[in-house]
Structures are given as C-alpha cells and as structure tokens.
Amino acid sequence: MTGYHLAELNIGTARAPVNSPEMAGFMAGIVPVNALADTAPGFVWRLQDGDGPGATALRPCGPDVMVNMSVWEDLESLRDFVYRNGPHLDFMRRRRSWFHPMAVPYLVLWWVPAGHIPGLDEALSRLDLLRRDGPGPRAFTFHDPCPPPVPAAEAAR
C-alpha cells in the first residue's frame, strides 16, 4: 500500500462520427470492454457521462476527440488489463480502424492520492506536461513509468 493510486488519460481522434458505420465496431465493443474493466483486479474508477457508453459523449478536446480516463490501484493492474486481457488487447489491435494515429503522446499516467478522483482539467494538464517535458514523475507512460511518490517527501512539503 503506497497511499497512491494510478490515474490514466487516453485520448483519440475518431475517424468518423460515433453513429456512423465506420465506428459501429468501436461503439459496440466499448460496452463489454468497459464491463471487463469494472471487474478487473485493481480497478478503482472510470470516467462516465450520462449520454453514451463510457465517456464517449464527452468532448473536452474538440468535436472528434474522445477521452477515456480511469484510476487503478497500481501500474501493474492497469498494465494487466490493457495489455494482457484478451478482449481488451483485441480491441486495441483494431484501434486504427476507428482512430487517427497521433504523432504526439495521447496517453498519460500519473499518481493520485488514494481516494482522489481526478477531474478532466487535471488529466489534460498532465497530458500537456507529458507533451511539453517528456515523461517524469508527474506525467509518464507505460514505456517510461515512474514509481509512486514517497509519503515522507509528501509530508515534508
């Protein structure tokens, strides 16, 4: 127990409107994949809106940009779900049919005090930080992860 949870934000520019045939596979897949996340070991919370499956109706970054945000107990539980869960891995394998590639980072990870649910502002500022400074303790990636903050250092702040 580190007293910290791992937050994740992931954004993607859709190739077509959500109600188009091109996006049908994504919209159909998101519900069972989200259900798998909800019961995955280490899952804490995920962003949802009232108007569509998951957070698919939220557009904080522009009309075509979808967001996905969640909190997990630690990095390994998120990694296990993202990369070692068959249906989720298969969903990711097909992501290029639904989302444009991005030349800049589109996924950011950061530590939050356990119990804190991050807002979209917080999440997007971490993505900006990652894009500006590269991976560091306040904003990192699966490729360059950072350990959770040491509680003593927190207390001394």
Binding site: V82, Y83, R84, N85, G86, L89, D90, M92, R93, R94, R95, R96, S97, H100, P101, M102, A103, H143
Partner: protein
C-alpha cells in the same frame, strides 16, 4: 559468460536434447523426468542439467513432490525450467533487434498497423501454402503443429485446440503489445488460411509467459 559460450554449452547433442525437453514443458521438471524423456541415465541427466543451469539456460527451483508437505515429506526435488533470458549470436555481428524496435515505433506513430497486419497475413498464408504443399496428406493439427514448431512457437495441445508456449517476438511484443500481438495474430490467421485449415481459428488470449495467440477448435459446425 559471453553469449557465444552460452550457446556453445548446447553443442553437446545429449545436452541439447535435454534443453529442448525442458524448454517445451510448462513447468519445472525433475532430473528423473528429464532422464526418462530423453532416454538417458539419471546421473548423466543431472550432470548436463546442472551445466545448463550454470550457463543460465535453465533455472533451478526446489519443490516437494505434489501432495506431500510438512515434516517427513522428504527433501524438495530440484526442478529445472527454461530461463527467460534471451541469447543471440550473429557472426558477423548484426542487430536486427534495434532495427525492428525502430520500425515498430514508426508503425505505432504513423498508424500503419492495418498495412502491417495485411503484410503479416500474406506472409503467413505463403508459409501455410508451402507447408500444405510439402505434406498434402498430413492431418490439419499435425501440419499446423509442425509448422509452428519450426517457427519456434513451441505449440502444445490444449483441449481441442493449441496453445503456444513461446512468443518468437517476445521483446518487441512486450514493448508494443497491440502492434506486435496484432501482427502475430495476422501471421497465424494467414498460416491457417494458406494451409486450408478450417478446424482451427486464431484468437488473442494472452497468458503470462506464453504467446498471446491461441488456436481454438473452430465453431463452424453449427453447435
């Protein structure tokens, strides 16, 4: 030990056979099991297994025989299993791994995955057609199993289907899972279709320490 001396440990044919046996098992094997499987004496097997362990090609664990515990259960047996470390020797020196890393990164960034999957599917299909032409009468399962074995997947039966003990692209797959596992799936789908095998179908189903693709009995018999 340098890479080349590690590989040289496998030169002895008996040792090589022992290594192949240990590497193909899902869990640790005892000296007695390894000796029986390779048809040599237990003492000789122990000698060679320990040489393999010294070279770091196999790892040693200790475990009591199943069903026995507590005092009087006897000494824990020495078990051997394939080490996870990779060894690669190229003469003259080549570094395809670094090139593959760079290419994977670029495919990731440019979103060329559909093209990668297409290329992988047709490469797999060519391999499947060649395998079929070489052995027209072989049953589907054996044909697929032989072909996967030759490509280093270490297939084993699992119910009516097949799982793969080894991922030939492990380091890359670890760094770019959707990209490399998706490519691998396309390779194997291609292999099945090229070899006209309809009794098996490929699906992503990652398991720790194994290939992320499983070949399942096709459900095309209207069940």
């Amino acid at each position: 030990m340098t890479e080349i001396s590690v590989i040289a440990v496998l030169e002895d044919p008996v040792r090589r056979r022992l290594y192949d046996y240990v590497a193909a098992q899902g869990s640790g094997v005892s000296r007695t099991e390894a000796a029986a499987a390779t048809g040599i004496g237990r003492t000789l097997a122990a000698f060679h297994l320990d040489r393999l362990a010294e070279a770091g090609l196999v790892e040693v664990t200790f475990a009591r025989p199943a069903g026995r515990s507590g005092p009087g259960a006897g000494r824990p047996a020495k078990l051997y299993r394939r080490a996870t470390t990779e060894h690669q020797v190229s003469v003259p020196p080549r570094d395809y791994r670094a090139a593959a890393e760079l290419l994977a990164e670029v495919v990731d960034v440019t979103g060329a995955e559909p093209e990668l999957q297409r290329a992988a599917r047709s490469r797999g299909a060519a391999a499947g057609r060649a395998a079929r032409q070489q052995s027209l009468v072989l049953p589907d399962d054996d044909l697929v199993s032989n072909s996967l074995e030759a490509q280093g997947y270490q297939p084993y039966r699992d119910g009516g289907g097949m799982r793969l003990r080894n991922c030939p692209f492990h380091l890359l797959a670890d760094r770019h899972p959707p990209l490399i596992c998706g490519m691998n799936l396309a390779l194997l789908e291609g292999l099945l279709s090229g070899a006209s095998v309809t009794s098996l179908s490929a699906r992503l189903d990652p398991r720790p320490g194994e290939c992320c693709v499983v070949l399942e009995e096709s459900k095309n018999n209207g069940d």
